[in-house]
Every structure is written in structure tokens, then in C-alpha cells.
Symmetry: C2
Subunit: 330 residues, 2 copies
Amino acid sequence: MRSLASTKRLNGPHPVSDDDMTLIGDIGERQLIEDFKTFLRPEGRVGPGDDAAVIGKDVVVTTDLVTFDRHFPAGMTYEQFGWYAAAVNFSDLAAMGARPIGLTAALALPLDLDVQAAYDIMSGMDQCAEFCGTGVVGGDTKVGPGIVAGTAIGSMDGIKPMLRSGAKPGDVVAVTGPLGGPAAGFAALDHGIDCQEAKDALYLPVPRVAEGVAMAKTGAVTSCMDLSDGLGTALNTLCSRSNVGIDVEFDFLIHQSYVDDIAAQTGIPLEKLLLDWGGEYELVFTADKDRLKKLYDADVEFSIIGMVHEGDHPELIRDNKRSDIGFGEY
Amino acid sequence: MRSLASTKRLNGPHPVSDDDMTLIGDIGERQLIEDFKTFLRPEGRVGPGDDAAVIGKDVVVTTDLVTFDRHFPAGMTYEQFGWYAAAVNFSDLAAMGARPIGLTAALALPLDLDVQAAYDIMSGMDQCAEFCGTGVVGGDTKVGPGIVAGTAIGSMDGIKPMLRSGAKPGDVVAVTGPLGGPAAGFAALDHGIDCQEAKDALYLPVPRVAEGVAMAKTGAVTSCMDLSDGLGTALNTLCSRSNVGIDVEFDFLIHQSYVDDIAAQTGIPLEKLLLDWGGEYELVFTADKDRLKKLYDADVEFSIIGMVHEGDHPELIRDNKRSDIGFGEY
């Protein structure tokens, strides 16, 4: 039996010591997470740094927290909010190619919230779980300002997980579906433009779980991640984790026509809607071009947007001119 | 590939329809969870209704959310709060006898919180995970009022999980350690009594993971759960889930002497401290008395507190008088 001796560090020295107090608001959430990684003991076969962790023999797990405050755009229903809270988690499993086997839901809800809203949130989570082939297997409910922390658990079923590292020069770069929908939805709301298609893309993201599992099984995919932080950020991450450069052809960035319309009506450059926004749940991946046939055979729908080459960052080619692709602002 | 057709229920009829709005504060969190269970699709091999769910082949998962508001007694450090947030989850795995293989942490923290506090919370979670033989494998951090949603994942390693059902007349009832410590700690704080031992029991609960795994392996345990909602509630739950009665001998309820002291100093009946409070992380279990030797051989420390018999509720025997054991107030 282990003893409490292993807890001797409690109240001991801290990883950072500074007489000047630094607030979370000063450094931001992303830096905070980076700081955590400097002192957490490594555990599991994969992660941190990928969409999800691989633990035990074959188990994949990921957690994402959404809030009324930040992830509840005008016009979204509680049921859609619940779907969204589940979808962001399943999308992380999809990026690894894991088959979902369960979802847990920890809720912190206001005492003055209509119980029907709570039922709707949980029903939305349940429906998204059903769409992904699993269910809500556990949960907790406490009082709070409107927070849902989902955790999705999946199995690799003996298949190798798709990681963010692994892209090789010569590989093709592809996405699983049209881009810019959620960004257009957000812009439409922000500018008072009535475009239901755009809003639906924002309200009801579709986690590409079936696609992710099928892709992982082909063995053709060399790296993969989801677009929750936007295509620009994702491409930068793939380049840095795989030590490669990527060229993306602007004309290959497929999108629905309403994205053009919203760009025109709002004056937001189309490029920004396609690259710089998050809340997008397609997968971006690289694949060995000699094994593309396996992806076609697996009935995975995808669109090639560029190529991997020697280098260290992604560039956009538009009208024969090159420009660096940034991390986006999301 | 599955299609979005399966989401057609979105915005469709709800499980409850009532013109009068009911608020979460009107029905309480426990009733809300009961309501959720009426419409969530079943998933997994075990649960809801047990400490954790068993999913896939051998995976056990549980989630619990703690808040600055409700789970941060005076004098507790941020590091202890982090330990606590992890411990409540590992305790649920322990109750099933699962071996922990990972912990995820979703945090919602105030922007004006000292980053050192955030490091301390995460370090406390990491240390509790280390004590339980695993680590923090994933996380998320957003802005919020101070909420930590942990999810613990475990493996049964081919062993049958211990459930709340399964107790049989003739079994012994036992606990893994002394009772009433956290209740005494809370009472000490509430009454301004300086008793560090009691406070430590409250601040640093020890999840009985090694004990739970060893107990499950013996095959001698017929039912088990943790005492997070107090012994009274746990005994009622075991009776109702196993369709049995339980007799508990008051004199068998082991506790440290400071619990007697706090009872005397505060005027709170000892019985209340031992039975009616939560925040306790020992395990209560029933075991086949012909197989108790296996538990001794496994070096599991435990104390017998009573017996299972035909019936439907737990009773306390004190000075040869019987009284019903209630659910407690926690």
C-alpha cells in the first residue's frame, strides 16, 4: 500500500516563486496551460500537446469546458449549447481517430435557471453522444454560473492514434469539409445579418467522429488535428509539431457561398473568415499521397488544400503571391 | 457514416412540459440528477446509480465538480483544494475497485486570481494523482468563478467491479478506516476550536484506491461505496440497492479521540458526527463472512461495524436500543 509520505510536497516549494503577484488575467489562459505543463508529471502514452491523451492500453480521453458567458451566442438554444458542450469533446477524439465509448458531464448551473433549460442542456449532450455512437455515462451537478465540463472517453481499438506530429514533406494537406461556416455565423450575428445557414454552422457543430475513425484505420494519415482554434492556428501547430512547412492554395479553401456573402456584407476579408476564426470542427490532416486511394476506398470525404514541404511554417498562396499564415485571433 | 438525421429531436418535444416555470433552486441538485436519469439513454455496463460507470471492455470513469464557493473551508490551501478536487474522483474509482489510469482537470478560474494559486491547485491534483498511481493527462482552463471539474479514469484489469448492489443477509458490514474526522474538522472550524488533526482530516481526504483495488481482487466483497455523502446515506443506499437490512453497532463505529473531544466541546452528538456528515472518504463495504480471510490475506485494513440481514433499511443498535439510521443532512 502506498503511504501519505508521497504527499510530502504539499505546502512545499512551488514551481514559481515571485514576490510580485501575477494574476491569471495578466498572463492569459493559454500561458497558464503552458505553465502547468512545465511542472506536471508526464503520464500516458500521448499528450499533452495533442487533441487528447492516450492512456492505459487503448483509452483516449479529453476534457473541455464551455460557459454560458463565452460559448452561448445569441439565438442558440439550451439544447444546442448542450450539443456544443459534447461536440467540442468528441471532436478531440475524432482528431485522434478514437471511437467514443462514453461522455461525462459536470454541470455548474444557476439556482434561478429554469429546470427545463437544464433538461435541454443534458438532452443536447445525450443527442450529440448518440450521434457519436455512445451516451452520457456519468455526471455531477452543482450550483454555479452556467458551466458544462464534458469529458469524452474513446477507444483506439488497436489502431494507431493520429497525432499532430508525423507530417512529412510530400504529403498532401486536406480538410474534411467546408470552412468558415461558424466564423460567418458569428459575423452574421455581430452585424445583424439574417443568415440561418451561417448561424446553424455556429450553433450545431458536427464532430467528425466517423470520419476520424475511418481515417485512422486507413493508415494513410500522417498527422491530424481539429479546427477548434481555427485553420491558421492548426496549420502552425502541425508545422511546429511535425517540423515541416505547409503551402496552402487559397483557391482550394472550400466554403459555402453564404461565407462569401457574409464577407461581402460585413467587409471582413474572406481569408480571415476561412483561416483566423475558431469554433470550427472539421479536421485538418496530412496524408501520404501514395496511399490516398485508401482514404477514397474508406469513403472519407475530404478536400485537398495544399502540400507539406521542407520548412517550418505555413504559407498561403493567393494569386501567385505568398504570405505567412498567422495563428489567428480566436 | 452516420447522418445528422439522428439529431432530428433537437428543438423537438422535451421530457417535461409545464407552463409554470420551475427553477433548479426549487427542486435542488439531487432531484435534478434524478430527473436527468429519466430521459438519458442507458450506456455502458454499469451505472448510473453506482460510484462510477463501467464502459467499453474494462474502463471505469467518474466525474465530480468542486467549487471555491462550496468546497473551500477556511484555512484550506489552494494545493489542498486541488488535492481534494482529485481525491473525490479517485474515491469513486476506489469504491468500484478500479486502478486509476488518468485524471483530467477542467478549471474555470477568476481572472484576478494569483497565478500561484492556479499552479497550487494543479500541483495538488497532480500530487493526489501520483498518490493514486497515475497523473493528470489532460485539461482545460477557462475564465470562471473558481470551479474544478475532475474526471478520473480507471481500469478494472479484468476484475469484477464492486457495486452498491450485491449485499446478502449474513454478510458483514465494514469500513476501511476511522469515521467522523472531516465532520469534526468542519465542526471545529464552525465553533472556532483549534484542532489541527480534525482540520487535516477535512483538508486532505485520502482516497482508498489501493484498498479498493485489493478488496475487489479478493472476490470477498459483495457491495461497496464511498462515504462522500456520509455513512448514514451510504448505508441507506446499500440497503435500497441490495434489498437488504443492515444492523450497525454504535460501539463498533471507530473514530479518533479528537472526534469525541469535538463532540463534547461543540455539543454536537457523536452519533451525528459519525453518521450524518459527508466529506468522508473511507469505503463502506459488505463481505461474505466465510471469505473474510481473503481480505486479511490481502492486507486490507478494515473494521467491522455490523451485519446484513433480511430487511429494507439500516438500523443503529446503541445500548441495546434500536433506531433507524437516516440519510444525513449533507
